[in-house]
């Protein structure tokens, strides 16, 4: 095939994609996930960031099953949820089964214009039992960050210190559905937008959980949106089986114990990954 032929083919593909999009000829699922938009548009934009900027290395991705449900529980950091996007891309690009990761997000995300729309289209839904169970029962891979905004909004001097794991709702859901829990430890996201302070007045005004002050934001304006090029690792832990434990789903003792175990695993893995990494910006 000549070079021109390839160009023609590429252009034709693009034309088909654009006309499909313009005529509404694509499918979304009941959660609003738009696979075509995510895979053809969002992930390609993130890919250079993943490969060249953060140089993400994944470890033990084969702990994630090739099919069927699993609940990925990760540490959350980085001011905005770049870690979630990188995790999504890691599973799609580097897992042999090219798995799509569905994410759970807080309700403020869906209240916020544009952010909520983006979240749903790329596969996220409300962090709630009904939604989580529905996705897991459909065999989806589900990602959750139990620290929530306490994790993303913590100051830089608290980096890699896991925050409270909420009420452990993710454990109940895993137990109720018999889904394995896979601890995910992410190193690198803490350094991309180091938080030095918070302006609560502005946060309230904008209806967001915190208004971050970093070395470059808001000082440099839009330039402050450029993340620092830290080196990333994503390590997938051994799956924790929950099969046949559905009657324990509403036992607070069991739920807290299991949540603690997951948290401890992630914390220890973070320490060993940090040691291995050395400097953040190598």
């Amino acid at each position: 095939m000549s070079g021109n032929d390839r160009v023609a083919e590429k252009l034709d593909e693009l034309y088909r994609l654009v006309s499909r999009r313009l005529s509404g000829d694509y499918e979304v699922d009941e959660f609003g996930f738009d696979p075509e938009l995510t895979e053809q548009l969002t992930l390609p934009v993130l890919r250079p960031l993943y490969r060249k900027w953060f140089r993400v290395e994944v470890i033990d991705i084969d702990h994630v099953p090739a099919e069927g449900p699993a609940l990925l529980v990760g540490n959350h950091s980085g001011t905005i949820a770049v870690d979630a996007m990188m995790l999504q891309l890691a599973l799609f690009d580097e897992h042999p089964a090219h798995r799509r990761l569905r994410l759970l997000a807080a309700d403020f995300v869906f209240k916020t214009p544009l952010l909520g729309e983006y979240a749903r289209k790329t596969g996220a839904t409300l962090a709630s039992n009904p939604d989580a169970e529905r996705l897991l029962r459909a065999g989806e891979l589900l990602g959750v960050f139990p620290e929530g905004v306490k994790g993303t909004g913590k100051p830089v001097w608290d980096r890699y210190k896991l925050q409270r794991f909420g009420r452990g709702g993710f454990v109940s859901t895993a137990l109720a559905t018999g889904t394995p829990i896979i601890p995910v430890s992410i190193v690198g996201a803490e350094e991309i937008y180091p938080i030095l302070g918070n302006v609560p007045v502005l946060a309230r005004l904008l209806g967001i959980p915190y208004f971050p002050v970093t070395p470059t934001f808001p000082l440099l304006g839009p330039l402050g949106a450029v993340p620092l090029p830290s080196k990333w690792f994503i390590q997938f832990g051994e799956p924790i089986s929950t099969e046949g434990m559905s009657d324990l789903a509403d036992d607070p003792m069991e739920v807290f114990n299991l949540a603690d175990r997951v948290k401890e695993t992630i914390q220890q893995t973070l320490h060993s990954l940090l040691e291995r990494r050395g400097g953040a910006f190598r």
Partner: protein, 348 residues
């Protein structure tokens, strides 16, 4: 009705349908009248729902099955908001009062709406019949629906011998129907809320009719003391932006504050059907699970995208964007590119 039908009178139903002056009620009366399992159908107009008259009618006709299809979503076509509330809420109270006194009524079917679930950022993505309803939903029609369902639950508690079914219908759409929704999508430029792209779900009006018909003549006895609730919607979803594109319209994303001003201004005035609950719907959308209907009544409405396609075809919506596709017999886009950049087509 002619008395020459094959089935015995005793096993055949006598049905009362409210809302006979509305499209769905009128169609239901016709289809029930044509069903051999039905002995007689009595229609009641939306404005004629007074318990004394209804009581006499129930007794005289020996009605055993009541279908309450009069609850309406459109304030404009109900003749204003107060008339809408009057017929929705007060009308339901009168009907239930009459049913409670009746000793012939065995089955009551209430046409409700998925608006019962409201719409917010804190709601699960998909509502099931088990989802708890909010005590005070936002918006006028949603408030009506909440009242109608509350009275219906009260009735079911008091008359445990009557099988009560509540059908929560998704917004209706069809090739020829004229609803506030079809008018919305027929606007050349369709206002949406800037930064929000809700998931929407529709119910084809023919499917609504079929479900109502089937459930009305069903012989199952429900759970005594409480209504059996079913979501009725076309499975699958469309995003609002996607639906607008499929209808060949242009979306006009508008800041929420501006739409809120319009919704507030429209309140109490009988000009446009636009209220705060519709604004919430345009931000968060509403999707229901209708698996229960399929499992129990073995009927599934056609998928939302199909129902919407039928609406677009039926209304012959002209694309405001011009024809999007090149003619099938003309050169394809790839061929045209090859012409321009000068390669021989390798035949793909």
């Amino acid at each position: 009705m002619p008395h020459s039908k094959p089935t015995a009178r005793s096993s055949r139903r006598t049905v009362m349908v409210t809302g006979s002056d509305r499209y769905l009620g009128g169609q239901l009366i016709e289809s029930l009248a044509a069903d051999p399992r039905v002995a007689d159908v009595v229609g009641v107009e939306t404005g004629a729902m007074h318990n004394g008259a209804l009581s006499r009618l129930l007794t005289r006709a020996r009605v055993d099955t009541v279908v309450h299809a009069a609850v309406a979503a459109s304030a404009v076509r109900s003749g204003g908001r107060s008339a809408q509330k009057e017929s929705n809420v007060i009308g339901t109270m009168h009907l239930l009062a009459a049913c409670q006194r009746s000793d012939t009524v065995r089955s009551l079917v209430v046409k409700s709406s998925v608006a019962a679930y409201g719409a917010s950022a804190r709601d699960p993505a998909v509502f099931t019949e088990e989802t708890e309803l909010r005590a005070k939903p936002r918006g006028e029609f949603a408030a009506d629906i909440a009242d109608v369902e509350a009275y219906t639950r009260g009735f079911a508690r008091r008359r445990k011998d009557v099988t009560v079914t509540v059908l929560r219908l998704a917004p209706l759409i069809g090739p020829t129907s004229d609803t506030s929704l079809t008018r919305y999508f027929s606007l050349p430029v369709v206002p949406t809320v800037l930064g929000f792209d809700p998931r929407v779900q529709f119910l084809h009006i023919d499917d609504a009719l079929e479900v109502l018909h089937r459930v009305t003549l069903d012989d199952r006895t429900g759970t005594a003391g409480r209504p059996e609730v079913f979501n009725v919607a076309g499975p699958g979803v469309l995003l609002l932006s996607q639906a607008i594109r499929r209808a060949g319209r242009l979306a006009a994303p508008t800041p929420e504050v501006m739409l809120r001003t319009v919704a507030t201004a429209a309140r109490g005035r009988n000009i446009v059907d636009f209220s705060l609950d519709q604004l919430d719907f345009l931000r968060f959308g509403r999707v229901v699970d209708c698996g229960k209907l399929t499992r129990v009544h073995h009927i599934t409405p056609r998928p939302t995208p199909e129902a919407f396609a039928d609406f677009v075809a039926g209304h012959a919506l002209m694309s405001v964007l011009g024809a999007p596709d090149p003619t099938p017999d003309g050169p394809s886009f790839a061929e045209r590119i090859r012409d321009v950049i000068g390669t021989k087509g390798t035949g793909d």
